[in-house]
Amino acid sequence: MSTFGKLIRTTAFKLSIIYLVIFSLFAVGMISYIAYSTQSILGKSLNESITREVTGLGRIYQQGGVRRLANEIERKSRHPGASLYLLLDFSGRILAGNVAELENGALDIEGAARRPIKYKRYGDSEQKYYRAVVNVFDLPGGFRVLVGRDISERDHFREVIGDSLVWSAVVIIVLALISWVFVARRVLSRIDEVTLASKRIMEGQFSERLPVSGSGDEFDRLAEGLNTMLARIETLMHGLKEVSDNIAHDLKTPLTRMRNRIEAALAQEPSSENDRKVLESAIEESDGLIRTFDALLRIARVEAKATHLTFSKIDAGAIVQDLAELYEALAEDGGASLVYDIEKSLDIKGNRELIGQAISNLTDNAVKYASENFGGDGSIVKDGAKVNLSASRQGDRIQIIVADNGPGIPIEDRDHVLQRFVRLEKSRSKPGSGLGLSLVNAVAGLHDATLALEDNQPGLKVVLSFPVWNDDVVLNSGAND
């Protein structure tokens, strides 16, 4: 039914209806005109032939009297498929003819009758009425003659025309409906193809193109135009990727050299303890630079969905478990307790490495802020700092929650912190690049997951909600290496 509804809403349907109406009107008009003119031509020729016969009979009476006229009428009456004849005397007695019964009053008016009259044929076994056009005329001596022509043939012709009118209307409507269904289905299928293709493109498959049927129709022209545009976008995207790959390569090579040299200098046993410290801090700084740089590149790639990432069926709970175990010890050392609650078999479609990194970033932050809050100035007892990790199924979503009871993030800053390099005033003094949450946000986007920053009263509660694994969904393995 929905397909039908879709069909009705198409432009093709509206156009078909307009064509149907115009075509039907035209057909009806033309057939009516043909019917009318044929009828009038037939009627005219009928009247003319009756008049000719009347004149002929009148001449016979003048030449041979009533006897000859009666003979002639008798003779004519006997012809098969003959016209109607009737000869009456002044008293109304039939002298000759082939009419058994006439409509009342048919003989009263002289001349051509205005309308067809009904009659019964002489010797007709069925005894039914026929219709005829008649002409009555008087002869000297009180004789009266009727000449007529049966018009059932003409009536039959009219019926045929009427029928053909109805049938042609039916055929036109049926043909219009069929052509509409074909046109609409073709149009719809083309549009569906285009919609599907554009969806795949939106998902990051930039090499995808809109289908071109090769018929050169308006859809092909449209698709070709859009494809040219897509090719241009792909070139630009590719250029961008190449640029970032080259930046990665060109910047990392000197960074590697720099690190190597410092490392070599350190290996040479620096002359003073101070030199050693300077060199070590230089290595640390360069490592920090590299880390930020890698994180930026990774976020950019994940956001562009351009990277060839392999998605598979993974257990989100297992990842949370891994990271909880990884960070548990760190949290305890920082005076915080890390508690986790994980349900079994929480399958989602995703990239384990990226989701792992996202949860690691969140847990890292949570541990950092929970313990900082309680041991900020190094003197306060840190007991009570808590980090909670949970993974559970909520309907058709898999929810991962990372919560801490640290300082939290004020409502007005929550959208803001997802952007790159944003670090709240309070945390500026702490280590970190300000890219952690941006990466989490990008990873969530890539996985069709939602990311919400909520108030943990006190603290921050980060809720990641992934669509649950669906067996019907085909894995979109972007890997095409």
Partner: protein, 233 residues
């Protein structure tokens, strides 16, 4: 379980300075390096000479690193390969390993990291890999019964601690870096913001070293950790 002896290493790297530094550092560590500066030359050398390990840059002139590795693997060459790359994307590693690489290191790297990984790769080929019991001095780890003993005394470990110790003992007398531990024990390849591994090491240390004479699990400054009988020299 001796330390890996002299290795013949082929470095295929177009950045001459990086290659020279690597060669020099490898020589200082007692190994014998060779250098090829493009893919074609590297392929020729790798297929004609005997090496213990290949260090291959991914982006090379004339012939890219992955195709060199693929060609060598097709010919039946089984020399372990460490891929070096400026590309550190999640799936770049997967493609590199799929092409026949044995390990993947993202640039820029610390030499200690590279050396530790190269030694681990060579070690992997030395018979004894399939040993069911690892022994380092007074410490034994039974991979079948999942039991750990020091001086005949049972030590109870968490499953993750067991895997950590197992990996360290498998690479006994060699430096194992933090990222190697994260990759092999936790199976994640990202770089955690805080050094979470250190905490796990200190816990493990508390169980296997604290109540005994002589520390086996040692910190190698600026590089990582090493499990070794006797003192570090």
């Amino acid at each position: 379980m001796d330390r890996v002896k002299t290795m013949r290493v082929l470095i295929i790297e177009d950045d001459v300075e990086a290659a020279n530094y690597l060669s020099k550092a490898l020589k200082e560590s007692g190994h014998v390096p060779d250098h090829a500066s493009d893919g074609e030359q590297g392929y020729m050398l790798a297929s004609s000479e005997e090496y213990d390990v290949l260090v291959v840059d991914r982006m090379l002139p004339k012939r890219d690193g992955l195709s060199v590795i693929e060609a060598l693997r097709t010919e039946g060459c089984e020399t372990p390969v460490l891929i070096l790359s400026a590309l550190g994307e999640v799936d770049d590693r997967v493609t590199g390993l799929r092409a026949g690489g044995d390990d993947y290191l993202t640039k820029p790297y610390a030499f200690s990291e590279l050396l530790a990984r190269v030694e681990a790769l060579v070690r992997r080929r030395i018979p004894g890999e399939t040993d069911m019991v690892y022994k380092v001095g007074p410490l034994t780890l039974d991979r079948l019964s999942h039991s750990v003993k020091r001086d005949g005394e049972n030590i109870l470990l968490q499953p993750r601690e067991f895997r950590l110790l197992e990996y360290l003992m498998k690479n006994a007398n060699q430096v194992v870096t933090r990222t190697m531990l994260l990759e092999n024990v936790w199976d994640y390849h990202f770089d955690p913001q805080t050094n979470v591994i250190d905490v796990h090491i200190s816990r493990l240390r508390g169980k296997i070293d604290k109540d005994f004479d002589g520390a086996l699990l040692q910190t190698v400054r600026g590089a990582g950790y090493m499990i070794k009988a006797g003192n570090l020299d």
